[in-house]
């Protein structure tokens, strides 16, 4: 099993943190495609802790705040950043962007800009895994806000009924946009709902990444064995919902407290206090990661825009004719007269 020692977990979390900081920078520099950029700063242990237990061949979907998860599953930061910039060199040739990034090679069945939209796909992937006897698990990552969506319950019910190798991971950063979880439900103990549908269900605090790994180990094993699982991971969304949101709806004090629950710093402290790594080593690692992510920014900015003609590509399979452009069609029609 890769990436489960604390130094490894720290490294992965730091990569996520730094990547997200660079995404913010890309935006500030006016180089991102739009402002719909949702940073997962503060949630790194969820992404890294769960992905530490995923294997080659496993599949997953994410919500709109999925950069960290994808990175933790092995994504190339260059192609990610290029996609976020809407470039042809990105994972999806600039068509998907931050909210619709995917990579079949890594089992990433797609991020989703529809809250809850990616959840049922893992049920289907679970059917495939069973059919193919591949031993793979499929994991749906989503936010606390997605617990408002009925499709989550439909999907959990099916997974439990069919005993599929499926896991539901709810990254509870306490907010859906400006709505705190206790303003969105009368019972914020989210795992209780999953239990009521017959899933193995737990909530874990995301402060210590190792706790997340422990919970993920337990539940993913159950899921792989045909008892679908649900894991809620408590954390805090450090910044606004998207790049332009300054979270005016939150008290400063709350934010201060919330940002103290920093899984990256927590792991760093622990590495230091346990003597697993010293400051120099950590600084060197952080620097190396900073360079990696700087390079991703450069790669993104240097990338070409997609070609205009690519607009009509991939609506249907490459074997099929492309849709006729409006302009071509109009020319043909007007040429009659």
């Amino acid at each position: 099993m890769k990436n489960t020692t604390l130094p490894q977990l720290y490294q992965e979390m730091r990569r996520v943190r730094t990547f997200e900081e660079r995404v913010g920078e890309l935006f500030v520099r006016g180089q991102s495609a739009g402002s719909m950029l949702h940073l997962s700063i503060g949630e790194e242990s969820a992404a890294v802790g769960v992905c530490a237990r995923m294997r080659d061949g496993d599949t997953f979907t994410t919500h709109h705040r999925g950069h960290g998860i994808f990175l933790a599953r092995g994504a190339d930061p260059d192609r990610m950043m290029a996609e976020i910039a809407g470039k042809d060199t990105g994972y999806c040739h600039g068509k998907g962007g931050s909210m619709h990034i995917a990579d079949m090679g890594l089992g990433h069945l797609g991020a989703n800009a529809i809250v809850g939209g990616g959840i049922p796909a893992v049920v289907g992937a679970g059917l495939s895994a069973r059919h193919q006897k591949s031993g793979a698990v499929s994991v749906a990552f989503f936010g606390d806000g997605a617990t408002g969506q009925g499709i989550l319950y439909e999907s959990m019910n099916m997974a439990a009924l069919w005993k599929l190798p499926v896991m539901f991971v709810c990254i509870n950063n306490q907010y859906g946009m400006g709505t705190r979880i206790d303003q969105a439900t009368a019972n914020p103990d989210l795992h209780e709902r999953a239990a009521a549908f017959g899933l193995a269900a737990r909530t874990v605090d995301g402060l210590e990444v190792e706790d997340v790994v422990e919970a993920a180990t337990d539940l993913m094993e159950q899921a792989r064995g045909g008892t679908p699982a649900f894991l809620a991971i408590d954390c805090y969304r450090f910044y606004g919902h998207a790049r332009k949101d300054k979270s005016p709806y939150r008290e400063e004090l709350e934010e201060e407290e919330g940002r103290k629950k920093d899984p990256v710093l927590q792991a760093r402290e622990k590495l230091l206090t346990t003597g697993l790594m010293d400051t120099a080593e950590l600084d060197a690692l952080d620097d190396e990661i900073a360079r990696e992510m700087d390079a991703a920014i450069d790669f993104a900015i240097a990338g070409e825009e997609p070609q205009m003609q690519s607009m009509f590509r991939d609506v249907y399979a490459p074997t099929e004719p492309e849709p006729e452009p409006v302009r071509t069609r109009l020319d043909r029609i007007l040429a009659q007269g």
């Binding site: 599949t59 979907t61 990105g90 994972y91 999806c92 040739h93 600039g94 068509k95 998907g96 619709h100 990034i101 995917a102 990579d103 079949m104 069945l109 797609g110 989703n112 529809i114 939209g117 990616g118 959840i119 049922p120 796909a121 893992v122 049920v123 289907g124 992937a125 679970g126 059917l127 495939s128 895994a129 069973r130 059919h131 193919q132 499929s138 009925g150 499709i151 439909e154 999907s155 019910n157 099916m158 009924l161 069919w162 590509r313 991939d314 609506v315 249907y316 399979a317 490459p318 074997t319 099929e320 004719p321 849709p323 043909r332 029609i333 009659q336 007269g337």
Partner: protein, 327 residues
Amino acid sequence: MALQETTYRDALRLALHEAMQTDDTVILLGEEVGRYGGAYGVTKDLIKEFGADRVIDTPISEAAIVGTAVGAAMTGLRPVAELMYVDFIGMTMDQLANQAAKIRYMFGGQIGVPMVLRTQGGTGRSAGAQHSQSLEAYVMHTPGLRLAMPATVEDAYHLLRQSLQQPDPVVFIEHKGLYTMKGTVDADAEPVAWGQANLLRAGADLVIVTYSRQVHHALVAAQTLHSEHGINAAVLDLRTLNPLDFDTIRPLVEDAGRAMVVSEGVMTCGVAAELAARITEECFDFLEDPVVRVAGEDIPISVSPLLEQNSVPTPELIAETARKMFP
């Protein structure tokens, strides 16, 4: 087996059966597709032959059924999801239009979603406003979704087989009024190609462009027009609305100079609008009259059989309208 007397319903089952036999990745899922055999009996007994792992009875969760099919299709299966009534498509439109239809595009061509969503629509059973609709226009208006609507027993078989070979998601809408219709299927014959319209009746005076059950209404009307009024109407069955076979429509309309489009869906912003607009654009200089739309009334469907029947085009309305085109 080759040539076979059968029904629309059984031809559909035959197509599913053969697909499941020849391709192990084909699975069926939906409400009552297994033990019950499908609300209209299309999947009868398939569970006995292929087992509950491939013929999957689901809870009543339309949105997740479609979403499950999307995920299955992305990971190597060829799911045929069933939506018991097309009227329930409203619950699935996000999974259908934002997921299935857009995944290939959003992800830059990395992967397709080769699934089929079988469903049925139309009037004819006094089932009321929520079980009698013809909602194909929602699908036709959604780029990325193919749309097949068989009118004949042969097409029930061949179009479904072809749908199961498409690389992209296909919405396959049967008509509840056709299930017991009899006809023949020749499984070995070369079928009309996917995406091609089928000229079921030639006629030099007028082209009636239609699909699904209205094909039969149009054929009845064409017969009346011929025998009672000496008007020769061609009847073209589109078979698929996406792709739309305009290459077949164009020369027919150019020759006849008159076209009528017939659809059971409500008129406003429906399939008939698209067909009329397109024919007009492409064949304007050849048209003697405006393209005439005969379509469903812009109202919900009543449970009262009298109101129900008159809410959608009838053979009489088609014939009467055509006759008025030749004053």
